[in-house]
């Protein structure tokens, strides 16, 4: 029966020693151990979080690079296109300018030719008139010895003039 009746003395010593043990362990063992464990877990957790963040940043950087590359490519295409367009436009304007220049020159030439022609025609007319007058003078000098013939001639001239 002594097995299941608690001894008062042992109960006393157990209480005393267990409480001292508890206080000693709590202060000098559990506090530093649990503190260190928590610290270590926190540092592992933060390291993992940092790694994750670095991964995300890397991805962002990569995505940024690709975006930059795509933009550069786009820019290059745009510039090429612009240059082509500009060249085409330039060619077109040059062509137009050349055409108009040519037209202008042709026009000028045509005008000059016209003027030359007019001058030449005028000269031909003058010359023809002078020749006619000379011829007429000479004829008149010879023909107008006869007055009847003079009158006749005048009449015929007049008739001609009217016709003109």
């Amino acid at each position: 029966m002594s097995l299941i009746t608690p001894e008062f003395g042992l109960l006393f010593w157990q209480t005393l020693i267990f409480l001292i043990l508890f206080l000693l362990l709590a202060k000098f063992a559990w506090k530093p151990i649990l503190g260190s464990l928590k610290e270590r877990e926190d540092s592992i957790e933060s390291a993992l979080r940092m790694a994750d963040q670095a991964k995300i940043e890397m991805q962002q950087l990569k995505a940024g690079n690709e975006k930059l590359l795509a933009e550069a490519r786009q820019e290059r295409d745009r510039m090429m296109q612009e240059a082509t367009a500009m060249a085409n436009q330039h060619r077109e304007t040059e062509k137009a300018r050349a055409t108009s220049e040519a037209n202008h020159i042709v026009q000028q030439a045509r005008e000059a030719i016209q003027a030359e022609k007019n001058a030449a025609l005028a000269e031909v007319k003058n010359t023809a008139a002078r020749l006619s007058l000379d011829i007429a003078e000479r004829i008149l000098r010879r023909e107008l010895a006869d007055p009847a013939a003079q009158t006749q001639l005048v009449d015929s001239y007049l008739k001609e003039v009217k016709l003109n």
């Binding site: 001894e7 020693i17 000098f28 559990w30 260190s36």
Partner: protein, 363 residues
């Protein structure tokens, strides 16, 4: 540290080699297994290492007796050993009595008190050195004893403390860890031949259960007491039955803790001693062919029981504390479930959750 442990183990192991044959010589006259076994599992005022034909090898401890009116008397237990009487005192089957029948309180340093002091010093030395390793090796991987004990500390914290108590677990961790390692170490030390059966002593388990009870009662919040004095969802006439039942429940929980640990450890010791006793009952070494394998089997099983009982005691303590500090409002349950799960999930979450049922008194 290692040397200290090995010296201690050597000291505790030494008697077994000499012990058993010596007892055989004694029992040549009359071998009473019941008496021998009880003597081995019970507390004693002396530490009986072993006996030879030339005499007993016994360590005697001081007896501290307090008599109301007469004051304190301190003397060696050698003076009252083997039926002798000293002054007014006599040992009656390890129970200190007075010759004139007056009342005496026995505060003696018994075998269990010495074993308790040794194991406490061992615990302090081991865990303070482990704490030292944490300080020295801050930021490094654990090594040696630290790496052996760390999984247990983490297990008690995560699987027992966090799961059973909930968000307020940190306050109770020092007690839970002290409890677990105290019971485990003493269970193991109790298994070493010649050592005291400390955790199989009802006074020790009673004190541990009382501490758990006090912590539970002190931590009990409004909700806990509400469930006891006004169980929700119960019509008030039933309170006449329910409240006494709940009040009995408060006492039954630590009582079951006390009995479970005491019974498991003592039973294991009695079984091992019984197998060894067979040799002396049959008075033939051939009985050893049966006793040794069975004794070995039970001893190995006891190694498992040592940690299992420490775990169960700690887990149940954590659950009692958990029920005392829990805020069990329906609207708060969702928030709690995120971090720690509800009480029901927590109890069922452990692999050994079925030990949580108080009716599992012994394994």
């Amino acid at each position: 540290m290692k040397h200290l442990l090995s010296i201690l183990l050597f000291l505790l192991t030494l008697p077994v080699f000499a012990n058993e044959p010596a007892k055989g010589a004694e029992s040549a006259q009359a071998f009473n297994p019941g008496e021998v076994i009880l003597h081995h599992v019970a507390d004693s005022h002396e530490w009986h290492w072993f006996s030879t034909d030339n005499g007993n090898f016994v360590s005697y401890f001081p007896i501290i007796a307090y008599q109301p009116g007469k004051g304190l008397a301190v003397f060696s237990s050698e003076k009252v050993a083997e039926g002798k009487s000293y002054d007014n005192f006599k040992l009656n089957e390890e129970h200190l009595t007075t010759l004139d029948g007056s009342k005496v309180y026995d505060f003696s340093i018994t075998k269990n008190v010495v074993a308790l002091a040794i194991s406490s010093i061992l615990l302090v030395v081991v865990f303070v050195s482990v704490a030292g390793s944490y300080r020295r090796r801050a930021g490094q991987a654990p090594s040696g004893m630290q790496s052996f004990l760390e999984p247990f500390v983490v297990f008690i914290r995560d699987e027992v403390g966090k799961k059973s108590i909930g968000p307020k677990y940190e306050r109770y961790m020092p007690y839970l860890l002290t409890l677990f390692f105290f019971i485990w170490f003493n269970n193991l030390l109790g298994l070493t031949p010649g050592a005291a059966n400390l955790t199989g002593n009802i006074a020790v388990t009673m004190m541990l259960a009382l501490v758990t009870l006090v912590i539970t009662l002190v931590s009990g919040n409004k909700n806990y007491w509400g469930h006891i004095f006004a169980p929700p969802g119960v019509p008030w006439p039933l309170y006449i039955i329910m409240v006494p039942v709940e009040l009995i429940g408060i006492i039954v929980k630590p009582f079951s803790l006390m009995v479970r640990l005491f019974a498991n450890i003592t039973a294991g010791h009695i079984i091992i001693l019984s197998f060894i006793s067979l040799i002396f009952i049959f008075r033939t070494a051939a009985a050893g062919l049966l006793s040794v394998p069975f004794g070995l089997f039970i001893s190995v099983l006891e190694l498992l029981v040592a940690i299992l009982q420490a775990y169960i005691f700690t887990l149940l303590t954590a659950m009692y504390i958990g029920s005392a500090v829990e805020d069990h409002h329906e609207e708060h349950d969702g928030a709690h479930a995120n971090d720690f799960g509800t009480a029901e999930q927590r109890q069922g979450g452990s692999d050994l959750g079925h030990f949580a049922q108080p009716n599992v008194a012994a394994h």
